[in-house]
Symmetry: C2
Subunit: 360 residues, 2 copies
């Protein structure tokens, strides 16, 4: 076995130590004679795994007691429907900030259920930045304000948490949750698909302030009702048990690394190295405003796009996997989530320099 460096945007790299533990106990969890996957979600053993995962996440993000943590199915894309269905209450509009592909998807789904006010958009700037607080046109009567803290495809990350007064702030944090410390109390809802910084695909974590529960529209499918899941501790029906378990292992690994504060330092260093490599050369380029450059997803282009396929071929041969940019954008993208070691970034930077020397 030779593990390679994996820059996939998601499903993405998992910590090798987590995979190794899952591998070791895959057929026999803690001497119980069966896999964690083969256990009833209501068994004492699984409930203890699930509760510990929640507690570890609460510890990592210092989640206040008045927030529920839900472990759901459906991906962040399903959340695009959950939000208006659960949060509109008797309001008929919501504010959305548009910073790229994922914001747009959230907006399109919300528009099916309510009036969407675009509080700000950076489309005219080709989504190469996030709007500043002063640019936000917020409606005090909006049911909530939604934004995408990190655009996985554009590589654009907010450098601040929007202030929205009394209007609940809702964030799609799929691609940068747990990458640094967070003041959860600023938010009404935080949601994240697991397959980037939490665990395998098929699990979605939702952190919701408890006063926002219980206002679902009458026709909300039961399984899309946050209050139903909150009341049942995410076990109204069978949850994705293996994903929940693996997320728990990731949370324990994060604690062992020193928590999100330590990850933030490593992530900052990894991103700095990669952006420095891009900026120090005319051969590579990244168009994002400095203050909004994502620490998680680093898209970059080659001066000569005809070399793209050569770059991908040679980087793969060098053990650097999944550097192809999103199909809607082209170029390259290196996703450097928590589980991508600094050595991977070092190897990529070195490869980029050598590639430029040979082809520049």
């Amino acid at each position: 076995m030779a593990r390679k460096f994996n820059f996939s945007a998601g499903p993405a790299a998992l910590p090798e130590a987590v995979l190794a533990q899952a591998q070791e106990e895959l057929l026999d969890w803690h001497g119980n004679g069966l896999s964690i996957m083969e256990m009833s979600h209501r068994s004492d053993e699984f409930v203890s795994v699930a509760s510990q995962a929640e507690q570890d996440l609460r510890d990592l993000l210092s989640i206040p007691d008045n927030y529920k943590v839900l472990f759901l199915q459906g991906g962040a894309t399903s959340q695009f429907s959950f939000l208006p269905l659960n949060l509109l209450g008797d309001r008929n509009s919501a504010d959305y900030i548009n910073t790229g592909v994922w914001s747009k998807k959230a907006i399109a789904e919300a528009q099916r259920y309510c009036q969407v006010n675009i509080a700000a958009t950076t489309e005219s700037e080709r989504f190469f930045c996030a709007p500043e607080q002063a640019q936000l046109q917020l409606d005090p009567n909006a049911a909530y304000v939604h934004y995408t803290s990190n655009e996985t495809i554009g590589g654009v990350e907010f450098d601040y948490i929007p202030q929205t007064g009394d209007v609940p702030l809702v964030v799609d944090m799929s691609s940068n949750i747990l990458s640094s410390a967070l003041d959860v109390s600023k938010f009404g809802v935080i949601y994240a698909g697991a397959q980037k910084n939490i665990g395998p695909a098929g699990l979605t974590v939702v952190i919701i302030r408890d006063d926002l529960l219980g206002k679902a529209q009458a026709m909300t499918p039961t399984m899309m009702n946050y209050a139903v899941h909150a009341k049942a501790d995410s076990m109204n029906n069978t949850p994705p048990t293996f994903g929940w378990y693996l997320a728990g292992l990731v949370f324990q690994w994060l604690k062992q690394q020193g928590g999100v504060e330590a990850m933030a330092q490593t992530n900052a260093r990894k991103a700095s190295k990669l952006y420095a490599a891009i900026d120090s050369s005319d051969f590579y380029a990244n168009p994002v405003a400095l203050r909004n450059r994502s620490r998680m997803n680093v898209p970059f282009t080659l001066a000569d796009a005809a070399l793209d396929s050569v770059f991908l071929e040679e980087s793969k041969a060098a053990g650097l996997l999944n550097l192809e940019g999103h199909r809607s954008v082209g170029g390259m993208r290196a996703s450097i989530y928590n589980a991508v070691p600094e050595a991977a970034v070092d190897a990529l930077v070195q490869f980029m320099a050598e590639f430029e020397r040979r082809h520049g």
Copy 2:
């Protein structure tokens, strides 16, 4: 490591050979240097795994070409909402057959969206049987007819496929799919949560006749629209990749066992042995009508309920896990899905005889 016999109703036992293969390649899938869990769902490698899984399922159940196979999230419980939202079209009622806990849940959700005609119910018989064809009061104007082919909790299995004329037949087959051969062409929709006879929790397989696609109600959440998933080959958003992969391994394992016809023979033999053990003694009892006794879930009671906890304790000590009946029913339940080997049933039958000898 000592694997034990696992009679869990779900999440349930998986074939040991499947778990062993998953374990071996968990950190490095086929020499690619990363886990199957760490791959983009749009990578050539994962797409080939996903397509092969679908093809193997099509082979196993001889699924006709005019049926789509979907690999979704949310569990069968989410399907309870999908069905009315997608199938009502311009009709305002659906027929449901009530045979127990799971039928009732499906009915309760459907009643939120349309008029539900109870085509038959065995509630007055305490759900100890399924209705016969002649008892079904079918409405020719219903949008569809829904039934539960196997009630996991009650241990009641239909011994025939209801005839519904031109009205599409919809079945929750979560707990007996792939347990025997099936004439898929009799159905409009077949759906099954994976965590019993297919794979791990967090995956739901839907087999749908293609003329039923494209009739979703206007307010259907995008991720609950069958047509959206069908058009995107279940990759409108990130699917539960690890579950899909494991399901594929189970399908390959089923083919190696000789397919569903061979499984049906083994399952019949396993069930016969267990029911014979129950019936040959006054110490054990099962209340279900002979023709409707489930081949997958075998509930049974002890003559003296005070011995229940002793039975559970001693069976667990003997390596026979998860025999506790559902919390709503009590008593015992042995779930003997495809992945539960005949040796497990033999061991249980032997244990039951010894237990009776000691405590009867």
